[in-house]
Symmetry: C2
């Protein structure tokens, strides 16, 4: 590759990496996107191998980021290396942009693109940061959920209070947060924020039919997770709930830094929420609905505010374009089966932004497996899938040149 | 003092300190109790001075334990030192026992007393580990709330899950705990555990009348705490709620060690509860009621269990006995006013145990002030009160010899 360079992050954010090879005049240009930042590895005690040293065991490689997304972006690099090593050139023009803030919701992405959008211009974007429906079942994701990451902060007394001296007379901010969080769902698993579902486009019947055919069954999913029953909107299967429907997840709830054993009523407590959105929900609009809901339900005994920490729009992408067609051919030749087309419940802020601001197709073909434990402990990458991924991406570059 | 020694803690618990001076034949024996362990100091950033270095500013001494209870037990030591320095002897026989596990609910206290009760035999116990009703208002506490310290653990999927890939299809253990905790009170602030209040003895009218006369008003308490409204059982004042009525406080709620920024559904989450009890509630019985309640309200989508970590019985002590009478005289001569008699919302496991197992009066005269911020950050001790405390205890020893 040429022109490899580190691009500074705007607003003091993490830098990103850019490189290109543009010596195929008359051929299309593809932008390969990935991210090198990872989720925290804690709790470290839950890991069987050191999270920041790659450990091969059997056919798996274990490490934080093995699947999400260092291992997958490495597939792209190895495919390029293969072409360059054998023929000294690439079949198409290639740009690579690797981000460092994906896992915190890409808070500086818009500022970055305001400055760098011209550098990233391409005819299509290809991203490997998603999962396959199962081993040997290559999967093109054409839809991602959006996300609103935010924190509800509750403040009570001006100082921490002894739980005996004051317990029962003041509204514990931690309890108030439990009450607020508990009230965000009804007992059927619907989100209770007024207006939350108004802009959620009903899932088309053909997509629901496709999901029933391709997705893992509730029973198989429950067995994998060690659960006796699922949870959530009763009119939808578990696979539908995590892809075609929005959801609201509390990812942490804590007092302000006090250790767990302390017998005190905290002065302040926070709940972090991770809201996943479907078209045509808008993260800013949902934040505003949540803010209004909080104002309506918060009793006078505590003060509550909402802090928005990140957002991404949901995205649905076209399936009929030269890049997708080239990818279908590459997949079919490498794996012997055509790819499954489905939506994912995850969110990749850059995919929606690049799709909207470059106005070109984004093809998501990921090589993760459902049991990779991404974001969890003992994250792994299946090595046979990795090598077939390299072969697939190598073929894609050739097919896309046609 | 003679025979000062460190006594090992049973079951690997913290050691305690014992000393005595028994050279006053024919005179009564008093046991002085205190504790040298403290609550955690975190969050450290909330302290204006180093929590483990005593810092004098104005008339206050700041440090963790300044008021609860290192500073107060030091009052006893200085009173003894004063007698021994001036006359070479004490007016009565004195035993001192200083505990090291009070702040964690004295989990090994029964085992310790099984072994050491004979060593602690006395005619009365005096404890300074409580607060005064206000500056210049010495206060004898004749009742303490009991305590049940426990942890509710909720388990969900067998591993942490990516919040996008699984959000909306499984019951998040953290959310399930919020729902359970929120359901432990009704909207009037009553605890909803069936049977919880059955054994709570109604507060006598004369005690409620005394509290109205002596205790800080709701308005003054709210102003001190920076709150616009209180919370809790509507038929009781704030002062009554924290002394005559039981309460249930959630003191922490967290997932299993994951950092707050992680976008994952935890496999396991825990809520720590601190339940304060009034006569005749029993910590074991309340734990059993809570266990039954949890079994009844937990949905099949998560598994929940209760882990009891500590307990103390509530206690009401007689007010008419030689030790209390001597203390009233000592207080009245030192402060110019007789002591206020009231109950405290706190719990001191050793007080109830010593009262029951030694079958002698326990006199609680504390020198903390309501704004000492015990268990909170910037804990302090009022030094003028400290010096009058030393004088009070010095006089008590003389009065008790009569």
């Amino acid at each position: 590759m040429r022109h490899a360079r580190i691009l500074p992050g705007p607003n003091g954010g993490a830098p990103s990496v850019y490189a290109d090879w543009l010596d195929a005049p008359g051929r299309p240009t593809v932008l390969l996107y990935g991210h090198f930042d990872v989720q925290p590895a804690e709790p470290l005690t839950a890991w069987r191998t050191p999270p920041f040293r790659a450990t091969i065991a059997g056919s798996n490689l274990f490490a934080r980021g093995a699947s999400d997304d260092k291992g997958q972006l490495f597939i792209h690099l190895k495919a390029l290396e293969s072409h360059l090593a054998s023929g000294g050139r690439l079949p198409v023009n290639v740009k690579i942009w690797l981000e460092g803030e994906e896992e915190i919701g890409s808070p500086n992405l818009d500022a970055f693109l305001d400055h760098e959008i011209a550098r990233l211009r391409a005819d299509a974007v290809v991203v490997s940061d998603t999962e396959m429906a199962g081993p040997g079942r290559p999967t093109i994701i054409y839809g991602l959920r959006g996300m609103l990451a935010c924190t509800i902060e509750a403040r009570g007394p001006r100082r921490e209070l002894h739980s005996g001296r004051y317990g029962g007379a003041v509204h514990n901010p931690l309890q108030a947060l439990c009450e607020i969080v508990a009230g965000l769902h009804d007992r059927h698993g619907h989100v209770t924020i007024p207006g939350f579902y108004d802009r959620a486009r009903p899932a088309p019947l053909d997509e629901r039919r496709d999901l029933r055919r391709h997705a893992v069954s509730d029973a198989a999913l429950l067995a994998d997770l060690g659960l006796s029953s699922g949870w959530g909107e009763p009119d939808y299967s578990m696979a539908e709930r995590v892809s075609l429907r929005p959801s609201l997840i509390v990812t942490s709830l804590c007092d302000a830094g006090a250790p767990a054993g302390k017998a005190a009523i905290p002065a302040r407590a926070t709940a972090r929420l991770n809201v996943r959105l479907v078209p045509d929900q808008d993260p800013d609009e949902v934040a505003e609905l949540l803010r209004r809901h909080l104002a309506a339900v918060t009793p006078s005994s505590v003060r509550v505010r909402l802090i928005v920490t990140g957002g991404a729009h949901p995205v649905l992408m076209p399936r009929n374009n030269p890049a997708t067609t080239a990818m279908v051919r590459a997949v079919t030749r490498t794996w012997g089966v055509p790819p499954v087309f489905t939506r994912s419940g995850g969110s990749i802020a850059a995919v929606e932004r690049l799709h909207r601001r470059l106005a070109v197709p984004v093809v998501l073909l990921g090589f993760g497996l459902p049991d990779d434990s991404i974001h969890g402990s003992n994250e792994k990458l299946d090595l046979p899938t990795f090598f077939r991924g390299v072969e697939t991406m190598r073929r894609f570059l050739t097919e896309y040149a046609r």
